[in-house]
Every structure is written in C-alpha cells, then in structure tokens.
Amino acid sequence: MGLEAKLNQDSFITTTIDAIAAWARKNSVWPMPMGISCCAIEMMAVGDPKYDIARFGSEVMRFTPRQCDLMIVAGTVTYKMAHVVKKIYDQMPEPKWVIAMGACTSSGGMYRSYNVVQGIDQFLPVDVYLAGCPPRPDNLLNALIMIQDKIGKTKVREFQDQPLTEYPVHNKN
C-alpha cells in the first residue's frame, strides 16, 4: 500500500529542499488552541472522530506555545485579553500562522462595544479569517486546508533571515 509498494528495490527520489520542507510543514501543523469563548467548542469538535483533524496531521493540540506553529484564536478578544493573546503569540517559534476563527475574532462580531477589540488584525498578522458565529467544524477544516496551501507555497529562505523573537521572560521579583 502507498509508497512502500513502489519501494521493492533500493530506490531514491529527487526533490528540492523547499518542496520537502513545505510538504513536511504543511502536513504537520501543530495548532495552539487559543480558545477564548464559544468558538472553542466548535474547535474541540474538530478534534473528535466525526470531523477528525488528524486526517490533516493537526491533531497535536499543544497547550504550550513553544511547540506550536498555528494559532487558532477562537473567541471574543477583549482589550484586556489582547495582551495575553499577543504574549502567547510572541512565544511561538517562527514560522507561525494565525487563523482568526469566527465573527468576533475577525471583526468584533456582534460585540460592537468599548471592551472588545474590533478585529484581532489590529495587533496580530492574520492569515485566514473564518466566517461564522460560531463557524462549523468543517469550516475550520477548510481554513486549515487554506493554511496548508499557503504553507505549501513557502520557501525555506523566507524564514532564514528573520531575527529571533525576544521571548518575554516573566520575572517574579
């Protein structure tokens, strides 16, 4: 089955570093589940056997930003929470991507009010905006596929000269 069936003798393939790196990256996107409100319920549903995000290699939801390369911001971001979201984003290693899941995250949604950030693109570089209130799980999968397409087109060199992120260190004293 699959590739093994073809490898009945010693064989080799030729490819480019860019192609193999992009292929590896896009099929093992580890999400940071930044679940802030009701969209997080739909984000959890994506992990269950019915929708099964594992089919796309993204079942490894890491609750530490240091091991993630995709941040799914799922929920209403208030001004107070914005600093927390940004702090967690800053701790993710490069290269990294962001999905703004749902109406609140993309534009403030129904919370047209003084306390809700009217779109997280005011402080984060968003790659995919996801419509819905909340979006259905298959819609989130669609966003993931779009992220995969985007990652598939990247070149390794694009991330080479980026300065290392200064990780904020919390000093208790």
């Binding site: 001004y79 107070k80 914005a82 702090k87 009010s113 003084y114 306390n115 402080f123």
Partner: protein, 162 residues
C-alpha cells in the same frame, strides 16, 4: 403575621431614628433611605432573627443622568427563612460620589461593590479592597455612566504593538 407588616413594624420599633419610605410595586417592596444610614439598616435586617435577611444578592447602581441625585445605589437582599426579597435604594450625589460599604455586614457585597465602583465610579467607604473588577487598573473612565460613549474613548485602552 405577614412579612411585609412584620418588616414595617420591626423597623419602626427598633430603628426609630431612621427615616425611610416604602414603595410597593407588584408585590415587590423597595425601601428608599438616606445613604448615611445604610450600614446600620442592613445590619439590623441581617441580624434580626425574625427578618433574617441573610443573603445579599446584588449591589448595583442607576445613573439617572440628571444634575441632582444623579446615582441611585440599589441593594437586593433575600431572606432564606421567609423566602422574601427586599430592595434597598440610596441616592448618591454626583459631587459627593460615595457611600458606606456594607461588606462588613454581608461579605459577598465586597465584589459586588467593586463591580459597581468599576462601572459607575461610586466610591464605597471602608471597603477592604476597592479595586477595578473588569476594566484594567489604569483605565480612567466608568463605562456604565450615561456620558460614556458606547464605543469607548479612543486610545484609552492600549493594544499590544503589531
């Protein structure tokens, strides 16, 4: 004896110096009193064994957006013994925007008063820890006041840099 009559007679008997008006609307009783009497009044309501208002459900305020007696602080208290709910109201002036804290009577009033302070800017005297509840510490405005715009004051809540 009906709880409403018991309440009136008990208050008249035990707190003779305190003036209050009773308003009844659809079976709900509100007592309107002077803000200087609030702690004494609440302590009696709680500690009297017949009335036994042992639960402070809510503390909130109303901004009437007028020059005199701009705010009204509202307390909802409940007696589990009598299954009876009572509302207390105190007017607060804009120039003298404070009222005594009742957190020494009901401990739950601590956070409820903090919330009222956060949203209306009414200071609660002798409160153990009067900090903001929802808004950031350095925020200068009070969102539920009528003169606060719905979309807030631009630049008053800082965002992280992109």
């Amino acid at each position: 004896m009906e709880i409403k009559e018991l309440l009136t007679s008990k208050l008249k008997e035990n707190l003779p110096g305190i003036q209050f008006t009773t308003v009844e609307y659809r079976g709900e009783i509100s007592l309107i009193l002077n803000k200087k009497d609030i702690v004494k009044f609440c302590r009696f309501l709680k500690e009297d064994s017949d009335l036994a208002f042992n639960f402070c459900e809510d503390v909130t305020a109303i901004d009437w957006a007028r020059r005199n007696q701009r705010y009204t602080v509202v307390y909802h208290i409940f007696s589990m013994k009598n299954k009876f709910r009572l509302r207390l109201k105190c007017d607060v002036e804009e120039d003298d925007c404070n009222i005594d804290s009742i957190s020494s009577v009901w401990k739950t009033a601590d956070w409820e008063e903090r919330e009222t302070y956060d949203m209306y800017g009414i200071h609660f005297n002798n409160h153990p820890d009067l900090r903001r509840m929802f808004m950031p510490e350095e925020f200068e405005f009070y969102p539920l006041r009528k003169d606060f715009p719905l979309m807030g004051i631009p630049g008053s809540l800082p965002l992280p840099k992109k």
